[in-house]
């Protein structure tokens, strides 16, 4: 067991925990943040994506021992921002959500991309979303939604 300090959706957290525990399990089971989904559990589908120090990371393969002094933002925390509102509306308008299971991860991937590159090309969007699987939409609507969010959110990123 070890003492780990981090911020979770802006709030400072100090816990004593096994450092090999998966961040995904802690977020869902201890903090009730069930917008963070478990898909493959092997880092290949992106459903469990969160922002760690503002970049996308798959929480299913993050051991707690690596997050000391880092900032974690889940879809729940991100949903309180203006950027989220722009991305959410764009996803709705472009039909980028069907079953919804991949959507929290897709939105986190979109934020991580736009934060780093506010005006991505279509190819850059596809690379930015390349670690996130969606079995419903066929991706084109999601790519379009990110493009739309980038346009509408001018100045936010």
């Amino acid at each position: 067991m070890a003492k780990i300090k981090f911020t979770l959706n802006g709030k400072e957290i100090n816990i004593t925990i096994d450092p090999t525990a998966r961040l995904l399990d802690i977020l869902r089971d201890q903090y009730g943040l069930v917008g963070v989904k478990e898909g493959c559990g092997e880092g290949e589908c992106g459903a469990c994506a969160v922002l760690i120090n503002e970049v996308i990371i798959n929480s299913c393969i993050v051991p707690m021992g690596t997050i000391n002094n880092k900032s974690i933002v889940t879809i729940e925390g991100f949903s309180e921002t203006k950027r989220y509102e722009v991305i959410r509306k764009a996803f709705e308008d472009e039909g980028a959500v069907q079953c919804g299971f991949c959507t929290p991860g897709m939105i986190i991937a979109s934020e991580s991309l736009l934060n780093n590159n506010p005006h991505p090309t279509e190819e850059e969007i596809r690379i930015g979303l390349s670690g996130n699987l969606c079995r419903c939409t066929g991706y084109n609507m999601i790519v379009k939604a990110v493009k739309t969010a980038s346009k509408r959110g001018e100045g936010l990123w």
Partner: protein
């Protein structure tokens, strides 16, 4: 349940390694999958764990006269975005895994994991990379082809840690990296191929080729490379079949869930042939 150590400094990590038998974990992108348990349970690690990804002493990229030094903890994404990174390594990193994995996975991890399909490895082999390992009382600098001895096997000792890698910083007239995989992102390579060539007064002055995922180790045959040094470009093209035949002996892939041995071998040799023919 295993014990975990989270040292405050690099020195403390070396001290812990001197006193305990530990499994070193950096980004965890390979180990957390390898030792995965059922959802909600702890991973099934067999040894006590040493966490190192937070150690700032291993997080640097610096350029020296003819080489680039990359700390073992630098994430793959940071290497991809560094202005010092060699063109060919960038090419491999751009199609490696996904942004989320590259934000965690480290260069040191990709080397110590020693997968024959490790995406950075063919490039690191042709760029004559050296691995700097340290223990509390010793330091070794080892060429990558001597450091990795088999699938998941390196000569890293129990008390040692990979500190940095040193990559040759040299430009080439012809450079290529190819990866064959099922999905562009996150796919483990079926075959990977890296090659670099320099031409001086229309003669081949430097020629290096490596293949990934076609045997237990990355294939790089320096004896075969020497045979084409000094030949003209026309002669090189004339030798194409002979060169492919010579490499054929060293390309010994397996059948597995990702591909078949016969496909891997055929495609590996096609990539070599296409590369040689591109040198004009």
């Amino acid at each position: 349940m295993v014990n975990s150590y989270i040292p405050k400094t690099y020195k403390e990590a070396l001290n812990l390694l001197a006193q305990n038998e530990l499994l070193i974990i950096a980004g965890g992108t390979d180990l957390m999958v390898k030792f995965k348990s059922i959802s909600g349970l702890l991973p099934k690690f067999k040894k006590d764990m040493l966490f190192i990804s937070h150690l700032a002493e291993l997080d640097f990229i610096k350029k020296e006269k003819n080489s680039i030094h990359i700390g073992a903890n630098v994430t793959l994404e940071k290497v991809l975005n560094s202005k010092h990174t060699h063109y060919l390594l960038k090419k491999a990193l751009l199609i490696m895994a996904s942004p989320a994995i590259r934000n965690m996975g480290t260069v040191g991890g990709n080397i110590v994991n020693a997968s024959p399909a490790g995406d950075t490895l063919p490039v690191l082999y042709v760029l004559n990379t050296k691995i700097v390992v340290e223990s509390l009382d010793n330091k070794r600098i080892i060429p990558i082809e001597d450091f990795i001895v088999g699938p998941s096997k390196t000569i890293l000792k129990e008390n040692e840690l990979v500190k940095e890698i040193i990559i040759e910083d040299k430009s080439f007239d012809y450079m290529v990296f190819e990866k064959i995989g099922t999905r562009q992102a996150d796919a483990i390579s079926k075959i990977s191929f890296a090659a670099v060539t320099n031409i001086k007064n229309s003669n081949i002055s430097d020629f290096r080729v490596s293949f990934g995922a076609v045997g237990p180790r990355i294939v790089r045959e320096k004896e075969l490379e020497k045979k084409v040094i000094g030949v003209t470009i026309d002669e090189l093209n004339g030798m194409c079949n002979l060169i492919c035949d010579n490499y054929s002996k060293f390309i010994t892939p397996i059948d597995d869930q990702r591909s078949s041995a016969i496909y891997r071998k055929k495609v590996a040799l096609n990539l070599l042939e296409e590369y040689i023919k591109s040198i004009k």
